[in-house]
Symmetry: C2
Subunit: 228 residues, 2 copies
């Protein structure tokens, strides 16, 4: 089954405190965009990548993605995450019928093994996402008061890449837009229609880089990989 990846790189990344969009920040000499696109392209199942970037940065992104081993199309994203994902879906070749992965450019340390696990589970179940356990005690809050403690064994934090049969994701997205619903990830668009989504074990290394601290952490991880 042909499998392609949409790389969401259109975020402003305000919490980084930088002047460039987050995907264009450098991590050990390469932008997050390049590192994430390479990580996806390194997975044998992925045949091509669609990178979705801010409209003002399409040309630069095309230059950066030229050297990738797999074909990479660059398109302009939209205001919200779901607008960008929709732009990515529209850039898939007409007649494409396989599995599509949606991945955050802010997770550049994703492993080949994790990408392939999501691909396999999405092919088998129609939809699959990586999740990791929650480390903290989680409280329900309201009006400045604690309303209770949540059983964290029944909760998990979602990561990307999230993988879907294209027909399921396209249908779920059409419905979310038609209903005016904001989804915080792609899985949520399917969940609200009652469509099954499988989970696979995510990885602490696949952390979303949100703050300068996160970027420093990723630099250390990459240095350790090199034995430096």
């Amino acid at each position: 089954m042909d499998t392609r990846a949409i790389l969401v790189a259109a975020g402003r990344g305000e919490r980084m405190g930088a002047t460039r969009p987050k995907a264009f920040l450098s991590l050990a000499g390469q932008t997050l965009l390049e590192r994430s696109a390479r990580a996806l392209g390194a997975a044998p199942s992925i045949t091509a990548v669609v990178a979705v970037v801010p409209a003002s940065d399409v040309d630069e992104a095309r230059d950066l993605c030229e050297a990738l081993a797999k074909p990479c199309v660059v398109v302009a994203g939209g205001e919200r995450r779901q607008d960008s994902v929709r732009a990515g879906l529209a850039a898939l070749p007409s007649g494409f019928e396989g599995v599509v992965l949606v991945h955050d450019a802010a997770r550049p340390l994703v492993s080949i093994a994790l990408v392939e696990a999501v691909v396999q589970a999405a092919r088998e179940h129609g939809a699959a996402i990586p999740v990791v356990p929650l480390a903290d005690t989680i409280k329900q809050v309201g009006d400045g008061r604690i309303a209770g403690t949540v059983d964290r064994d029944r909760l998990a934090a979602a990561q990307t890449p999230q993988g879907f049969r294209l027909d399921l994701l396209a249908r779920a997205y059409e419905r979310a837009f038609a209903d005016g619903v904001v989804v915080t990830d792609e899985s949520m668009a399917l969940e609200r229609l009652g469509l099954p989504v499988a989970c696979v074990p995510g990885s602490s290394r696949n952390r979303k880089l949100t703050t300068p601290d996160d970027l420093a952490w990723a630099e250390r991880v990459l240095r350790a990989d090199l034995g430096a």
Copy 2:
């Protein structure tokens, strides 16, 4: 109102992969135990500290705590967190009637401002804990499937120090032990009795140090403080 702190330092800290209990690991030249005890003692409202450590490490902890500016009693902890907290409560002077804070030694970067905010809120409301927003998309999971997306605006992650009027905490603990209930934090013991617990804004700097990565992060924070 007299206010004392119980410092929970009896954890083994398996995820650190070290041979010493976590509170005895070094962070920029001082153990987590010393740093946490100093952080609590630096808050003007705190008059004394009870440190609860593994039975085998009581003597070493007494040596480490000798140099503190505020009185510090060291006692042996128990198997579970709640056993250690109970040992700490038993070490408070008889007749003590004020507010007690319970703090994890694994959160050595807590600020004076946060300690004082918890003390003030606990004095006012009887019980208060610091919470921080959740950064990730949170899913309900079961049987390897995603059951739904949780509205994270109504959830928060609990931190320490957690502060309580002693009479309320003692009552809640008695009931938890009598009922054979395991509580993952002190607040939970009050919540299950329907006692109100206020929340105050926690801090990302007050992160619980669980892995070697967390320890490296804390070293960087301390170096940055020194302008190194």
